[in-house]
């Protein structure tokens, strides 16, 4: 059944790619994103033996330019690769949902929320490379849940090399592998942690050093340092944009680092609270959501970073359809209300900076509110409670899908021993019941 969906999802993306080629050639407003041209230009440089960083504004790993070298022959090759990876993201959502203990039907519904979602379809058919890092991060989380830690570490190392943001899940992953209590649980490495961290470090360092040896300091500057210290004052969704623009004159690059503090604090707090293996997915979702919302630059591509992590955790959110619909509507409305003054500023030259900033702040508040609500509504049933036969009422969502929570456990035999294993191993200080 999933094969049909996979094929359909890929065909839909193909259709949009084809339409995009048509629109590019005929209409005035292009369909293809500027970023795709940046990638293909950099790939063209690489194909001729030069550095991809000769292309201005190319701020990604050289691996991406290498990957896209065939675009010299087939212009849409990159879009095809990104679409395939996007479909793979959906497949990973399905696998993760199954690992979480949900039935095949629920898992397919979760994956369908990605496969047939217009936002990722548009993004990958326009030529954005987000699906590459989304795939890697989801794969890392999947491997962690499967306890294949060497591979998981490698996936994480590669993901962080491609984009920095997957690093936010590292503390949670580390703590999720802890045993015992106290210093042993929170700090000291054990075999599992060594495998994960070792693989991640080796992968990341070898990639970084390798690329640095080939491309020099320019690689470090464009791929990493730029993102850490950039103070992009042009208008974007971030609540910080206007403050950064107005203080540009007195700005020091250290100001760019101050904005990292709330992100750091919240990411760590989430990791402390939700690092248990069974909450790992929700933890990752919240951490990336916080990272994007509190970031000093925020564009619409970033939304996919956390939206890809939402479908597998959706069944565990005890929101009604109405509530979920309202939150989604609020999120879209806040975006649209930002886009209006942004359009007036950029394409009509009106003096509406204050309004754009107000909308950025409103969007920020909406996101904080939505995340707070989602955290409150995250209802994680314990294996023990389920084994006792209904320690928790099935959420309205599960009920509407005609599934009680107890049922899926029997189908996912792999998940079960893992949970039982951890029930035995993990006991907190107070000796209370744990997952």
């Amino acid at each position: 059944m999933t094969t049909h969906h996979v094929l359909a999802a890929f065909l839909i993306r193909l259709a949009f790619i084809a339409y995009g080629e048509y629109q590019d050639s005929v209409m005035h407003v292009p369909y293809t994103d500027v970023d795709y041209h940046v990638f293909t230009d950099a790939a063209a440089y690489v194909a001729r033996g030069h550095s991809p960083y000769r292309r201005a504004t190319y701020r990604y790993t050289p691996l991406l330019a290498w990957l896209l070298v065939p675009t010299e022959l087939c212009r849409t090759f990159g879009k095809l690769v990104f679409s395939a990876l996007d479909v793979a993201v959906g497949a990973l959502v399905y696998r993760l949902a199954r690992l979480e203990g949900h039935s095949r039907r629920i898992a397919v519904s979760c994956a369908a929320l990605w496969w047939y979602n217009p936002l990722p379809i548009a993004v990958c058919s326009r030529g954005n490379a987000e699906s590459l890092v989304l795939c890697l991060l989801l794969y890392c989380l999947y491997l962690c849940r499967r306890r294949l830690l060497l591979l998981a570490g490698a996936a994480l190392g590669l993901a962080v090399h491609v984009k920095i943001y997957p690093a936010v899940v590292a503390p949670a992953l580390y703590w999720s592998l802890g045993e015992g209590s106290g210093v042993r649980r929170w700090l000291l490495p054990n075999a599992a942690r060594l495998r994960l961290c070792g693989a991640a470090a080796v992968t990341f360092l070898s990639l970084t050093v390798g690329c640095w040896l080939i491309y020099g300091d320019e690689f470090l500057q464009e791929t990493y340092l730029y993102h850490l210290t950039r103070r992009d004052v042009r208008h974007n969704f971030s609540v910080f944009f206007y403050a950064l623009y107005l203080t540009e004159e007195w700005g020091h690059w250290s100001l760019g680092l101050v904005t990292f503090v709330p992100q750091l604090v919240l990411v760590l707090a989430l990791a402390v609270r939700f690092h248990r293996p069974r909450h790992l997915l929700f933890c990752a979702f919240c951490q990336v959501y916080v990272f994007v919302t509190f970031n000093k630059v925020c564009t619409s591509q970033y939304f996919l970073w956390y939206l890809s992590l939402l479908p597998p955790v959706l069944p565990r959110l005890s929101c009604s359809y109405l509530e979920g619909g309202l939150m989604l509507g609020l999120w879209y409305f806040a975006q649209a209300s930002w886009l209006l003054p942004a359009y007036l500023l950029e394409f009509e030259g009106r003096q509406v900076y204050r309004l754009v900033w107000a909308e950025s702040a409103a969007f920020f508040c909406a996101n904080v509110g939505i995340l707070a609500r989602l955290i409150r509504k995250y209802d994680a049933p314990t294996a023990a409670a389920v084994a006792e036969g209904g320690g928790r009422q099935p959420s309205e969502r599960d009920q509407s899908r005609g599934k009680a929570d107890g049922e899926p456990r029997s189908q996912t035999s792999r998940a079960k021993p893992q949970h039982q294993q951890q029930t035995v191993k993990h006991r907190n200080k107070r000796g209370g019941k744990v997952n």
Binding site: Y242, T247, E248, E249, L266, R276, F364, I375
Partner: protein, 311 residues
């Protein structure tokens, strides 16, 4: 000026009679010098191997002039152009449209117009965008930082090639060429009193690059039956080297074309309001702090697994 001779003559057979002939000879001067050489100098430039009688000399001259004119006009264009400039669209992304009107002369055949725009620091042209345009006629000289603010940037030269419409010129006596260059405004520093920054884009310099000027084998040939033109006779001053074609590295000589006017266009760029500074800093800090505290509270109060578990 003197080439108006040819403007009236549509048949392109050259001047008739000796008096127009001498005027024509006078006209074949370096482009920028307005003075005329004495006719004897011109006579000397075209030296005959055999002393001929004045009548046959005149007839030969006539023949030479006619053939020279018939083989098209390999001489410096001396008329001046009229420019019309405007900015299309609104906001940060504009099209800079320049119309050049040139009085027709056979000198324009086999020539290309070259506009050299000097864009001020407040705007820029994206070389990658220009390379993707179907018209493929613009080239940016040097490197552009598309993300820099205006005060961190400097001026930029953009070359635009335009073909000259020969048929239009021959028919109407005038050539009009239009060029559209997409430009983008940079972000300017926020200001306390000014709401708008005005970016002044000066008028471009105009050049003409002709094939005859850049042929490697243009030599004066006295022995030939229909003598080719002695290009030394008709050199232009104010020449500058630029790429021959947009895609080639070969350098050709282009000579300047005078313009009768120098229109300037103004691009208004909205500025951030520095009077908002306190409000924005406080507002941002409050929003971010409140958001952080709220989320920390929610995370802290979150009960997982059994209700008995408290943090």
């Amino acid at each position: 000026m003197v080439l108006q001779l040819f403007d009236d003559d549509k048949t392109d057979s050259g001047p008739k009679g000796v008096v127009p002939l001498i005027s024509y000879l006078r006209s074949r001067q370096p482009c920028t010098s307005a003075k005329f050489q004495q006719v004897p100098d011109t006579w000397q430039a075209f030296s005959l191997p055999v002393k001929m009688s004045p009548l046959s000399t005149a007839l030969s001259l006539l023949l030479w002039t006619c053939s020279a004119v018939a083989s098209s006009s390999n001489c410096c264009y001396t008329s001046s152009a009229w420019l019309t400039r405007r900015l299309e669209k609104d906001g940060f992304h504009r099209d800079l449209v320049t119309s050049v009107q040139l009085p027709w002369s056979p000198s324009l055949a086999d020539c290309r117009l070259l506009l050299v725009e000097r864009l001020p620091a407040g705007v820029y042209a994206d070389p990658y965008q220009l390379a993707r345009l179907p018209s493929a006629q613009h080239k940016v000289l040097g490197l552009v930082d598309v993300e820099a603010m205006a005060h961190d940037s400097t001026w930029l030269d953009v070359l635009s090639w335009v073909e000259v419409n020969v048929t239009e010129g021959e028919v109407s006596g005038q050539v009009t060429a239009t060029v559209s260059l997409p430009v983008h405004a940079r972000y300017h520093r926020a200001d306390e009193t000014e709401r708008i920054a005005s970016v002044y884009i000066e008028s471009p310099r105009l050049f003409l690059g002709c094939d005859w000027e850049n042929q490697p084998d243009t030599q004066p040939s006295i022995e030939a039956e229909s003598p080719t033109v002695d290009s030394d006779d008709c050199k232009c001053d104010e020449k500058e080297p630029f790429p021959c074609r947009i895609a080639s590295d070969a350098v050709c000589e282009y000579h300047a074309v005078q313009t009768d006017n120098s229109p300037t266009v103004v691009l208004p760029v909205p500025l951030g309001d520095l009077r908002d500074l306190e409000l924005v800093l406080v507002g941002t800090a409050v929003a971010v702090t409140a958001g952080t505290v709220l989320l920390l509270l929610v995370i802290n109060n979150k009960t997982l697994e059994s209700p008995a578990r408290h943090r």
